[in-house]
């Protein structure tokens, strides 16, 4: 556990020791601010953060792999993975530590947007349930995307590949989802609809927290993390 926390602390701090970490955060907050100003904070509009959440879910598709791409790829490329994996820390500890750091960075990035919620409550009476559901949706979706990104990062030394892999993977899944019902046989459409996160997230936007969806996101995250651990272990045995 100590090892996991140590890895997490170093990894989290590393996001703020490079310009990229600050730039990604700044770009997201500028975009979020613009969406809030021009789509939420409009006279006559309902006091809802739905436009902000819709934007965030779309942006997460790009943002999450940008956060996770360096977790393992960078260590594999520079060779720092060697002193790390010869320290008395298990592979699971290393994977979980790096993953938690990425989630923590995402949370840090989202934290300033709580100001929008505060502004909205000052001006009007928003539906707090929908707000909580929206943030939970962002967090769960981000956790899933980040876990997939960490797996991609552990699979390659190339950060561009670790970025593009999950991005195009999930993008392809969403494209397939949009055509599945009309073009695919029933069973194939069912599979695509079951694994594509895009459809499930829409319920959160409506303020509905469906435990099936929560379980789906958590199970998907756990699956990607387990696969990453196996991949890191397999690298040793190759």
């Amino acid at each position: 556990m100590t090892g996991t926390i140590t890895v997490m602390r170093r990894e989290y701090a590393s996001y703020f020791r490079t310009a990229a970490g600050w730039v990604v955060m700044a770009l997201f907050l500028v975009l979020a601010g613009a969406v809030f100003r021009y789509f939420v904070l409009q006279p006559g509009q309902p006091a809802s953060m739905r436009p902000f959440f819709a934007m965030t879910w779309g942006v997460l598709l790009f943002l999450a792999p940008a956060i996770s791409m360096k977790t393992f790829s960078e260590e594999l490329r520079t060779g720092t993975i060697e002193p790390l994996l010869t320290a008395p820390v298990s592979e699971t500890g290393v994977v979980v530590g790096k993953y938690l750091a990425a989630v923590l960075y995402l949370c840090t990035m989202l934290a300033p947007t709580l100001v929008y919620a505060a502004v909205l409550s000052g001006l009007s009476a928003p539906d707090y349930g929908a707000m909580v559901a929206g943030y939970l949706g962002v967090l769960l979706l981000g956790m899933l995307y980040l876990a997939a990104g960490v797996l991609a990062s552990a699979a390659t030394q190339s950060q561009p590949l670790a970025f593009l892999g999950p991005l195009f993977g999930f993008l392809a899944l969403e494209v397939l989802r949009s055509v599945a019902v009309s073009r695919f046989p029933r069973w194939a459409a069912d599979v695509v609809l079951a694994v594509a996160p895009g459809l499930r997230i829409q319920d959160f936007a409506k303020g509905v927290i469906d435990t099936r969806h929560v379980v789906f996101f958590l199970a998907g995250t756990a699956w990607f993390l387990a696969a990453t651990t196996l991949l890191v272990q397999a690298r040793r045995w190759r």
């Binding site: 090892g3 602390r9 590393s14 994996l85 008395p88």
Partner: protein, 339 residues
């Protein structure tokens, strides 16, 4: 302290190690010497638990590096080749991080970092970012991180690679100092390095241990087979004894061959002389007197008789050449560069 038994490592298309066995007793500095691709780094990575062997086993301080990997790793301080570090971290930040990874408490981390920074002369760059340091400093940071938790065993992969002569001298001195309270396994392809710093040398080639002993033992083994070089005046016409026959008849001689005298004689002085290399049988003892007497009895005019002093370099080169020859004859296809 380190025991390797019949260790092998195979990758998809080549075999990097074949039945490597050695022991590193407590308090010794042992050098793994070999050309690039000999299997040194693979051996070191197996010893440090970075990856497991395909066959055989390694134990460090009594812990199997696969079965009890975490315990074994705790006993080792490891400096990988080229000292990979996080460039965005400061020196003290990195040492603190390594201390946490080694599960040291705060007081131990501070004590350890102070001791290692003093020993590796890092005090003046303690607050600097690692990415801003020279290669020599980075190497020292890696070394400081390896010895931070005062491990029983230090494993150093090519610790002086890329350093300037002054840094090499300093690192060498530090390694000798470390030997007083650590067991050190150091790999290098630079022979004088190993000869100067190590109590024992393990010579590797093509994934096998080819020689194992102290430098003087290895040189002694080589010396017993070093040839005698004898320069005699050339015969005029067909008269006079044939040196090959005279020296070949001396008891204890295995072979006699003619060699070329380097062109260094003034005014063509060498044209009247020829050089013979007399190869002794193993454990034949000193044959200089017998050879001189045989030459005298056969009226051969001798201007020089000496035995070349063997060096570790000669042994190393001979083993590598033998191995290359053997490999050419016997190596299967699919033999590739090892890691």
């Amino acid at each position: 302290m380190i025991q390797a038994r019949n260790v092998s490592k195979s990758y998809a298309r080549f075999t990097a190690l074949r039945g490597v066995s050695f022991d590193v007793p407590s308090g010794q500095v042992v050098g793994l010497l070999g050309p690039n691709g000999a299997g040194k780094t693979t051996t070191i990575r197996i010893v440090t638990g970075f990856f497991p062997p395909t066959g055989g086993n390694v134990s460090v301080c009594g812990f199997d590096t696969v079965e009890q990997s975490i315990h074994a790793r705790r006993s080792i301080g490891y400096l990988p080749e080229a000292a990979p570090l996080y460039p965005e971290m400061s020196v003290e930040g990195y040492l603190d991080y390594r201390g946490r990874l080694m599960q040291m408490d705060r007081a131990a981390r501070l004590r350890g970092a102070g001791r290692c920074m003093d020993r590796c002369h890092l005090r003046d760059v303690a607050g600097k970012r690692i990415g801003q340091l020279s290669k020599g400093y980075k190497q020292r940071v890696g070394l400081a991180a390896a010895m931070l938790h005062n491990p029983q065993v230090l494993v150093l992969d090519e610790p002086v690679s890329g350093l300037d002569p002054a840094q090499i001298r300093e690192t060498r001195k530090l390694m000798r100092e470390l030997a007083s309270d650590h067991t050190v396994l150091v790999s290098s392809h630079i022979l004088p390095e190993v000869e100067l710093t190590c109590d024992r040398v393990i010579i590797m080639a093509r994934g096998r241990v080819r020689a194992d002993g102290t430098p003087s033992e290895l040189v002694g083994r080589m010396s017993s087979e070093a040839p005698y070089l004898i320069e005699v005046r050339k015969r005029t016409g067909v008269s006079g004894a044939q040196p090959a026959v005279v020296f070949g008849g001396v008891p204890g001689v295995a072979a006699v061959r003619r060699e070329t005298i380097p062109e260094e004689g003034e005014g063509g002085a060498n044209q009247f002389w020829e050089r013979w290399a007399v190869v002794p049988q193993p454990r034949a003892g000193d044959l200089r007197e017998t050879l001189a007497r045989a030459a005298g009895e056969s009226a051969l005019v001798v201007r020089e008789l000496h035995r070349e002093g063997a060096t570790l370099e000669q042994l190393f080169l001979r083993l590598i050449e033998e191995d290359d020859g053997g490999a050419t004859a016997a190596a299967p296809s699919g033999e590739g560069p090892s890691r």
